[in-house]
């Protein structure tokens, strides 16, 4: 089994790439940190990517 080592200070791991995870990751980078965003499925987005519109602005959720 291959093993990769990532040695870094100033990094944070976020587990889950739904709306909460992605927003957390974005804010972490804005606050000066490197982020590993670990997502179980093949793409980030979570449940929000399935929504048609969100109340009340009916924005496209992507």
């Amino acid at each position: 089994m291959a093993q990769a080592q990532d040695k870094k200070t100033g990094a944070v791991m976020v587990v889950g790439g739904g709306v909460a995870g992605v927003q957390t990751a974005l804010d972490l980078t804005e606050l000066g940190f490197y982020v590993y965003l670990v997502e179980k499925s093949a793409a980030v987005g979570g449940a929000m990517a399935q929504l048609d519109k969100t109340f009340p602005t009916n924005d496209c959720s992507l």
Partner: protein, 950 residues
């Protein structure tokens, strides 16, 4: 999401599982296993050919099983990362060693069946758990015929049916025979508030999303009849009650308070049998039944908890406390989103910002050590160069090309002068399209880019970033909106829509010929904050900012810190509030970075994000001192207070010491009379809220009533407590307390606005009469105490609204920049919001919101500078005659006069300019030009408009 995919400081490790976590806060090692995608992410161009050739069918879980895909696929075209993957459970090769058709089909040779799982060890300072939510148990669905009858669908499936990219391309059709349903029923609380499936809590979001889905379905088909069956409509969120009213009055959606017994087949459709509160039964036929499913804990919650070393609560969500809502039981491991408890998007987004704030506060000393600063290639276009324009026409899947003839528009663009490259694009916003754009810019030496797609209001920044990556100034870009302004609004006139698209593209290209690179400007930031309000929100925000290393000044109007929290003595879960408040105040006072000004008021504020100057008036006895404070950001946490209604339920309030508020009752129960509780109490909910006096729901009163009812029962188990309510909104885990109160004999009796409870006190004690719908009779009581749940109002928001130019809602709460996605920012850059001044909410939500507002406020302070959009006005000093008309007209005080060689000249203060262009339109000598909107450019657009063929 695309933003996360583009950030150089976010590495997305998808298709991966967390296997182990070791270490301590500041120094964790996480082991992550990446499962093989069997496709080389670097080589895959997301062309989709492999999916076309894959012979095997696979149920499409992204479309909730309502559509079919193939084992080799991508969930949806805008997915990040935009790489296809093979579902090993269905692939013929991976299961049976056959097939492999996809391997030769792939032109970029990206398919690699030799991939194996790889382990990675990540050194991280903190871990944030945001795994979201899971599905409610199957049995919660099957009891309503789900799985047996095809037209019983879950609300998530219904959401996919409403979606243009969904199974019927946005048409709502019955799954069984594809007919359009004429009658749809929603059943609420499926898998929530249901001990039968061990989900005793309320999922908090289903009432609102059911209303949203019902309204959208009505927009699709106004003839459709929709009924929502519910126990309590829990629309306690900001402006949610108004949405329910609109659903009822404008859309004609019916709301029926009843429990649904079962759903059975009936003729071609379904029969729904229900029981109303008074015990009577009824049934109605429907074409489709939608189950409003709740949010469950994620399926792998206990595995995650084991690995992460933290505790779960009894429902398998992450366990946290009222005072530290985002900290798990393992220090350094935090939680955000639905895993902390079921919640809606704004609360999730708020928690996300808050958790980023507290985790980075803990890791302050590591800040900046791991980040990669994004560098852009040098801009290589000199002004005056001959325009070489590249045009892309986007299909937006079928959103545009379903109506507009995209190839025709593309060819038309190709014939225009100066256009040296033109192409169509399936999704021009996708990540692979950005790569193509970059390549073509280099290959064809493009120096202007025009993209005809959706709205620049949402997508311009994304394409501008691509231009920067390709070494072009981001201003050399023009966007043409042929979706929102064309294909979507002329869906039935494809020819006219195509003509319009061609005209708009021509106008865009005409403008593009005249666009020029604009210099980027930045302004330095004063690295400190001003916090208005010294309640729990203001103090929490101050501590969060101080943890980040930034000084702040807290301005409190009263003579001491604490705000409304001084009135709260215990919480529903039983926390000791006074001790918490005392510790919080001590921490604030001891923190060297925090300056506290009590008996102080904000007098004025000038400036803009990064550079505010405020005057604060402090009263010390007879002396009044004015302080001038320079600061980079403002945090508004002015709070709220209990409402004092003049009339309750249309009745004058009699003068009586036996009629009190919940807050007064709380003081009595926790104070001297600690061991005495009244023997009989009637509580009236919504006494002043929800259309009685205040238009909105105050969100906290139901919890407060249950809290006090339980306290009375604890002190005096024999006491008779009756709660008269319209809807019990004990959302989330508070539902447990509501159930406990009922079990302990607290009587909850609903009333309606056309049959309100009556009360009086003619000096001989209180009398209350009401209609009991369960007993079906009128009841008259003489309780020892009548307690009113009076609701919350914001504290003097109007003054501050004028001073800071920040908007308020009709209900006088401050209005955030975007209710879903920017919940703690105000529309004015550099001003942030937390606490009751935003909307009524309980203590734990206030704490999170304050942490989030502080985290967002810290962003410009961390950066140390703010970038100014280059579209601001510019005064040509040679042409300016110094008349000063612009200065007098500018609504933002963004132009100043100054003297150069003894001549008066106007000059723009870039950071204050909002690019409105009033100055440019009025300058008598045309000395003022607007970046990106010059006279030349607009005139070229008008001229191109004139070329329309009739």
């Amino acid at each position: 999401m695309v933003e996360a995919g583009r950030s150089p400081n976010i590495e997305i490790i998808s298709n991966a599982d967390l296997l182990a976590l070791d270490g301590k806060p500041g120094k964790f090692t996480a082991t992550v296993q990446v499962r093989p995608r069997y496709i080389d992410a670097e080589a895959c161009t997301a062309c989709g050919l492999c999916t076309k050739y894959c012979p095997r069918h696979l149920v499409d879980s992204y479309n909730e099983g309502l559509a079919i895909t193939r084992p080799i696929h991508i969930d949806y075209p805008q997915a990040v990362p935009a790489t296809y993957y093979i579902d090993p459970s269905a692939c013929l090769f991976l299961q049976h060693g056959t097939c492999q058709i996809c391997v030769p089909v792939c032109r970029s040779r990206a398919i690699d069946f030799s991939q194996k799982p790889t382990d990675r060890k990540l050194a991280v300072g903190a871990v944030i758990m945001a795994p979201g939510f899971g599905r409610v148990p199957e049995e919660a669905l099957t009891k309503y015929g789900y799985g047996k009858h095809q037209d019983v669908v879950t609300s998530i499936e219904f959401e996919r049916l409403l979606n243009p990219s969904g199974p019927f391309k946005g048409e709502v059709r019955c799954i069984s025979d594809q007919r359009h349903p004429h009658k749809i029923a929603f059943i609420q609380c499926v898998g929530s508030r249901d001990l039968g499936c061990d989900n005793g809590y309320c999922s908090s979001v289903c009432c609102m999303y059911a209303i949203k889905e019902a309204m959208v379905a009505k927009e699709h088909d106004p003839e459709c009849e929709i009924t929502i069956y519910y126990m309590d409509m829990r629309t306690q969120g900001k402006e949610f009650d108004a949405a329910q009213k609109r659903a009822e009055e404008h859309f004609g959606i019916k709301f029926v308070r009843a429990k649904v017994a079962d759903v059975t087949p009936w003729d071609k459709g379904l029969k729904l049998t229900y029981a109303t509160m008074d015990g009577s039964h009824g049934f109605t036929g429907y074409d489709m039944v939608v189950l409003s499913v709740g949010l469950d804990a994620p399926t792998d919650a206990s595995k995650l908890a084991n690995i992460g070393g933290f505790d779960l609560n009894s429902y398998d969500f992450c366990k946290t406390t009222t005072f530290a809502p985002l900290e798990s039981s393992n220090p350094g491991v935090y939680v955000a989103g639905a895993f902390q408890g079921p919640k809606d998007i704004p609360e999730s987004v708020t928690q996300a910002s808050a958790v980023a704030g507290i985790a980075t506060g803990m890791l302050r000393n590591q800040r900046g050590k791991g980040v990669i600063l994004k560098s852009y290639p040098a801009e290589n276009v000199a002004e005056g160069e001959v325009p070489r324009i590249g045009v892309w026409i986007c299909h937006c899947g079928i959103n545009i090309s379903g109506v507009v003839d995209v190839p025709k528009v593309t060819d038309y663009a190709g014939e225009m002068a100066d256009v040296v490259y033109f192409s169509d694009s399936l999704y021009s916003c996708s990540q692979d399209a950005q790569e193509t754009i970059k390549e073509k810019i280099k290959e064809h030496k493009l120096n202007r880019v025009v993209i005809a797609a959706c709205s620049p209001r949402t997508h311009e920044p994304l394409f501008q970033e691509t231009l920067k990556d390709a070494g072009l100034n981001r201003s050399l870009f023009e966007m043409v909106n042929i979706r929102d302004h064309c294909s979507w609004v002329h869906a039935n006139e494809p020819e006219a829509a195509t003509r319009k698209s061609m005209d708009l593209v021509r106008m865009g290209v005409a403008k593009a010929r005249h666009i020029k690179p604009l210099p980027e400007q930045t302004v330095p930031v004063t690295k400190s904050a001003l916090i208005i309000g010294g309640g729990v929100a203001g103090m929490t925000a101050a501590l969060t900012l101080a943890d980040q290393g930034f000084p702040c000044t807290v301005v409190e109007r009263q003579d001491k810190l604490g705000g409304q929290l001084q009135q709260m003595l215990y919480t529903l879960p039983g926390d000791d509030v006074p001790t918490f408040l005392k510790n919080l105040i001590d921490k604030v006072k001891k923190n060297k970075l925090i300056e506290v000004l009590t008996s102080a008021e904000l007098v004025s504020t000038e400036g803009f994000v990064g550079n505010f100057a405020s005057v604060v008036k402090v009263t010390r006895g007879k002396d009044i001192v004015e302080h001038t404070i320079d600061h980079g950001v403002i945090l508004v946490a002015t709070g709220g207070r209990p409402h004092t209604p003049e009339k309750v339920l249309g009745q004058e309030l009699p003068k009586s010491d036996r009629i009190v508020t919940q807050q007064a009752l709380e003081a009595q129960l926790a104070g001297k009379g600690k061991n005495r509780a009244p023997g009989s109490v009637v509580m009236i909910q919504c006494a002043g809220s929800r259309g009685d006096d205040l238009a909105y729901c105050s969100k906290t009163c139901c919890n407060e009533a249950v809290k006090n009812a339980l306290k009375i029962k604890e002190i005096n188990p024999a006491a008779q407590v009756i709660v008269l309510y319209r809807e019990m909104r004990t959302y989330g885990y508070a539902e447990d307390a509501y159930r406990q109160a009922r079990e302990q004999g607290v009587l909850f009796v609903p009333y309606t606005m056309d049959n309100k409870p009556l009360f009086s006190d003619k000096g001989k004690g209180v009398k209350v009469s009401y209609h009991d719908p369960i007993l079906r009779e009128d009841v008259e009581l003489a309780p020892e105490l009548l307690v009113l749940s009076v609701g919350l109002v914001p504290e003097s928001t109007e003054e501050l609204s004028k001073m800071l130019k920040i908007p308020v809602t009709a209900d006088k709460f401050f209005l955030e920049a975007h209710v879903k996605l920017r919940p703690v920012e105000l529309p004015v850059a550099g001003i942030f919001l937390a606490g009751l001044a935003h909307a009524p909410k309980p203590l734990d939500e206030i704490i999170v919101q304050a942490q989030a507002a502080a985290a967002k406020a810290a962003i410009p302070l961390v950066r140390g500078k703010v970038e100014v959009e280059p579209i601001v006005s510019h005064v040509d000093q040679d042409t300016c005659i110094g008349c000063g008309i612009c200065v007098s007209l500018c609504p933002f005080q963004a132009i100043q006069m100054h003297k150069i060689d003894n001549k008066r000249k106007a000059e723009t203060i870039a950071a204050s300019c909002k690019a409105c262009g009033i100055c440019a339109a009025h300058c008598p000598t045309f000395a003022i030009s607007m970046g990106g909107f010059t006279n030349e450019q607009i005139n070229a657009q008008i001229h191109a408009f004139g070329l329309i063929e009739e």
